[in-house]
């Protein structure tokens, strides 16, 4: 589904990603872990098409197509979704209106008729239950006045509505209390399937108690320093990120 080859990227002249190789297939859950500033969020944003980052080398192939020239909205319509670490507040637009517009864009792409507000209301009921959100959130402006946990749940609600092929979850667990974490993870698990893939960016191992990754990659200083199965996350939890950094130094690789 997604193939990243030797990806280098910079922002304002600072190189953040220094050669990333990653292959994500349908049905897989990949956890991207790493210390602060390692470039893990940048990786998600670049796949989503954030305009502030410049890809200087390498390529990102999604479903056989190079994403380089594709606008973020086009990527979204092709099935890429990003749940934000800091979801943005949009005054003047209700949550349901945004989701309906977004969903209808995707339907249009697939050659389906748009849903009117009533049809959409029916469609969204199950999705609300998935993240245990009250319907009153639909009428509120997007993320306006939402608590941190509500914002994150709202991101997963949007994911449920848009039903993406590739979901990039950027630190969806950060700032969540145990209950919210359980709800959010439960939602994500129900949305994971054999036809879609999830790239889960996280600083902590905690969310991996709820969501079992097929692969764990440790990003340090713009490179994937170590990849492994779910047990890698537990090792990291035990030894800390220094453990990976130390290992790579032993192997004589540049940091």
């Amino acid at each position: 589904m997604l193939t990243i080859k030797n990806l280098h990227a910079e922002v304002e002249g600072n190189e953040i990603l220094k050669g990333i190789d990653l292959e994500i297939k349908a049905g897989e859950v990949h956890a991207i872990m790493g210390p602060n500033g390692s470039g893990k969020s940048t990786l998600a944003k670049i796949v989503a098409g954030h305009p502030s980052y410049e890809v200087t080398k390498g390529e990102i192939i999604y479903e056989g197509e190079d994403l380089a020239e594709m606008e973020p909205d086009e990527r979204a319509r092709r099935g890429i979704f990003m749940a934000f670490q800091y979801p943005v507040e949009i005054p003047g637009v209700s949550n349901s209106m945004l989701m309906r517009e977004a969903y209808n864009e995707i339907r249009k792409e697939k050659g389906l008729d748009p849903l009117d507000p009533l049809e959409f209301e029916d469609y969204i009921v199950d999705k609300l239950n998935l993240v245990e959100m009250d319907a009153k959130f639909l009428d509120r402006n997007v993320n306006a006045g939402f608590s941190g946990g509500e914002k994150k749940r709202n991101e997963i609600l949007q994911m449920a509505v848009l039903n993406p092929k590739l979901a990039l979850l950027d630190e969806t667990d950060s700032g969540l209390d145990i209950d919210a974490l359980r709800i959010v993870s439960g939602g994500i698990n129900k949305l994971a399937g054999k036809d879609n893939a999830i790239m889960l960016v996280t600083h902590y191992q905690r969310i991996l108690n709820y969501i079992t990754p097929d692969f764990v990659h440790v990003l340090v200083n713009g490179r994937i320093q170590k990849s492994g199965g779910k047990e890698l996350a537990l090792e990291l939890e035990e030894h800390g990120y220094e453990w990976v950094t130390a290992n790579t130094e032993v192997n004589g690789e540049a940091k």
Partner: protein, 445 residues
């Protein structure tokens, strides 16, 4: 100056076109003569004048206009009545090119003693309140447009709400400006007097039907007695080739509250000078604004908020959206006089630039002569927030939708303050139209 040169002066040319007859009432006629004398032989201000630095009247100066009332049968749209807001169904005055239209006006269901009528009729009938207040609030100092309006005005609106009377539904003053082959000028005059403990909402709506050149020069005077409340909404949707130069003066007495929301959307050149004087203790004034300019439009707002007495509050949020080669100018003065202790004044001018070629001039000015006050003022100029744009685009929304949604979000707090639902709806459509229109203008360029 030779006589020849004098003949070519814009204001003289204009005065000359109007019928020299003055109001039948002696005091009003005197005021009109005085106003005419004030501008006779005067030139229009140039950009060398500090108050006109960014607002050039050069193109206006070259135009010629006939008085709008001299156009025999204006091209009145069939659906003119459709411009009446449902909330104002029972009290609205309509003016076609500044001329009062009795057929399109309605003033039933007004409480006893309330007057909503054509100003010309009221003055002719010798209404004392109108005569006493007319010209007392809008002073001309060195401004030529108040005297121009004063010298030539005929029709307009007079609203009087007596002591203790509260009118819940808005009163609409609808100014329909038609598409004509001839370039015309009009100077509608509004006078609003709210007596003690009165309450009202007035909507002043100027709409251009075509894309023709005309000159709209309205003056509004507002006088609020103790403990009265007024909300004043002004929508300027004149033709994109029109000139709209307006003046508003409000005197607000003790324990009173005046809230003005001015929305400027039309005209190639719109200039709005607004003055609110808080004449006594415990009064409040709001002068909020929303401006949208694109193409080659220029919109200039000059305001004065004058705190003269203690314990008063004022609020001014002026938002401008600039696209294409549009220009917005904001010059907001707040005076806090020596006696105006415990004043709480807020002023903010926010400009949203949607293009690389638009211009915004912001000049918030604060002059404080009292020592125990809380005043804040500020101005910002910025683009759409790239993180917000990215967020919406990751949801699959295209550039045009994203722009529209975020632009609406920017304008929203001013729109939401306007307490008339159908105006809020109208304005959300206007924002939508604006962002789409801007796009097509860009594609053409």
């Amino acid at each position: 100056m030779t006589d020849n040169a004098k003949e070519t002066l814009f204001l003289d040319r204009l005065l000359d076109r109007f019928d020299a007859a003055k109001s039948a009432h002696e005091k009003v006629a005197g005021l009109q003569s005085e106003a005419a004398r004030e501008i006779t032989g005067k030139e229009l201000p140039t950009t060398r004048h500090e108050e006109w630095k960014y607002c050039s009247l050069k193109s206006l100066n070259k135009e010629s206009f006939v008085p709008a009332a001299s156009i025999p049968s204006p091209n009145l749209p069939k659906d003119a009545i459709g411009y009446i807001y449902p909330e104002a169904e029972h009290h609205h005055l309509t003016f076609i090119n500044g001329v009062f239209s009795e057929a399109l006006s309605k003033t039933d269901r007004l409480p006893d003693g309330v007057i909503v009528a054509n100003l010309a009729d009221v003055l002719r009938d010798g209404n004392e309140i109108a005569i006493e207040n007319l010209g007392e609030l809008a002073k001309w100092e060195d401004d030529p447009f108040v005297p121009l309006n004063t010298a030539v005005f005929r029709d307009g609106a007079f609203i009087y709400v007596p002591k203790g009377v509260k009118i819940a539904d808005p009163i609409q003053l609808l100014f329909i400006n038609t598409e004509e082959a001839e370039q015309y000028v009009m100077a509608p005059r509004c006078l609003v007097v709210g007596d003690q403990f009165s309450e009202m909402t007035v909507v002043e709506d100027h709409i251009g039907m075509g894309s023709n050149v005309y000159f709209n020069c309205p003056v509004s005077e507002i006088k609020l007695a103790e403990n009265s409340h007024m909300t004043h909404v002004k929508l300027q949707r004149d033709s994109r080739q029109a000139y709209h130069i307006s003046r508003l003066a409000a005197d607000i007495s003790r324990d009173s509250d005046y809230k003005s929301y001015a929305v400027q959307l039309g005209s190639q050149l719109s200039r709005s000078d607004v003055k609110a004087v808080l004449t006594d203790e415990n009064t409040h004034a709001t002068l909020d604004g929303l401006v949208m300019v694109n193409g080659e439009q220029l919109s200039d707002t000059h305001s004065v908020m004058d705190h003269t007495m203690p314990n008063c509050t004022s609020h001014q949020l002026h938002k401008c959206i600039i696209d294409g080669n549009g220009t917005s100018v904001f010059n907001g003065k707040i005076f806090v006089r020596q006696d105006a202790q415990k004043t709480d004044a807020f002023q903010e001018n926010r400009n949203l630039q949607l293009s690389n070629s638009g211009t915004a001039y912001a000049k918030p000015q604060l002059e404080i002569f009292a020592d125990d006050v809380s005043c804040s003022h500020g101005a910002t100029i910025g683009q759409l927030n790239p993180e917000e744009v990215f967020y919406l685009k990751t949801r699959g929304l295209q550039d045009a939708q994203t722009r529209e949604i975020l632009t609406y979000g920017f304008a929203l707090d001013v729109i939401e303050s306007i307490p008339v639902a159908s105006i809020q709806k109208r304005l959300s459509k206007e924002v939508e139209k604006f962002t789409r229109e801007s796009k097509s203008i860009k594609e053409l360029a």
